[in-house]
Chain length 177, copies 2
């Protein structure tokens, strides 16, 4: 259902758009929150139109189809945002690596953590580029802040873990907030 929510959210926030536009919007803005390519988006829009959540507002050049959110779609979106209990399913390859870190020797473990840290730093840099503190109001600004904090938490974890692995601190201790 979350793909629907993401698509409805974009249509609600930015107005009518084609599947192509939505795929681009996914790449640019939603990327750090949810992922979907055009091969998933096009069929989903058709299904959503069948269900009355969106409608083809107009057709442009090159077979371009502009979808608009319907009143039913808006209602559905708000219902989900307020009423739906966010699922706690987590599937993180980085966390899986962290879990199995004790199976490796110290040298290899340091290598893996360093790699994870580099990824988190790249992610943080990418997020910093998306919004500056000056631009105060835009859709997704709260998610951007959340993404930054999550990336920073991963970097902090990597630093603490590297310190442990290098024997500079006690292992497994809780380092607080």
């Amino acid at each position: 259902m979350s793909l629907r929510i993401a698509l409805l959210g974009l249509l609600d926030a930015k107005g009518p758009a084609s599947g192509y536009d939505l795929a681009k919007a996914f790449e640019r803005s939603l990327n750090h929150v949810w992922q979907a390519g055009h091969t998933q988006i096009y069929p989903e829009l058709v299904k959503m139109a069948d269900d009355g959540l969106v409608e083809v507002e107009s057709e442009g050049a090159r077979g371009r189809k502009i979808y608009a959110i319907t009143r039913e779609g808006t209602a559905w979106l708000h219902e989900w945002l307020v009423g739906h209990d966010p699922s706690t399913v987590v599937r993180s390859e980085a966390a899986l690596k962290a879990f199995l870190l004790t199976l490796l020797g110290p040298g290899e473990a340091i290598e893996v953590v360093t790699q994870i840290k580099a990824h988190a730093q790249a992610r943080l840099t990418g997020l910093e580029c998306l919004g500056t503190p000056a631009s105060e109001a835009f859709t997704g600004r709260f998610a951007l802040d959340l993404g930054r904090r999550q990336a920073q938490a991963m970097i902090d974890w990597a630093n603490a873990t590297l310190a442990t692995l290098e024997g500079r601190r006690v292992p497994g201790a809780s380092q607080g907030a």
Copy 2:
């Protein structure tokens, strides 16, 4: 591939086990890192046996089949841990809600953030119960620390966002580490 890694990791860390045992281990220890039920685990173990990564060591009562990791399996596991670039695919319903927060009125937005905060706090409490600072060495202790930090980051975000929504702070500003 990550399900394989998780299963191989458990077999490597805790020794031979049945599919049933592995499903239980998923529930208890791996839950905050990767999820899988028995309906996914049983067929995967069969495929892994076909591929030579595990083997049926013995069969016990009630049709119980004990799987053990093979040398090839161990090699494969280490290869993945060190060599595989962790995918950055993120799909978080909480983050999606955060993204779409601006579509809601202040009252509803506060409600949603409060709900997310409660979930993060429950998660943090659950993780705290899994390991005490005293027990210094166990498989997954690094992932536990990571999970705690991620949960704390979410709680911090929720508090900052609530402050913004209640008009106590500037919106969208970067709050640093």
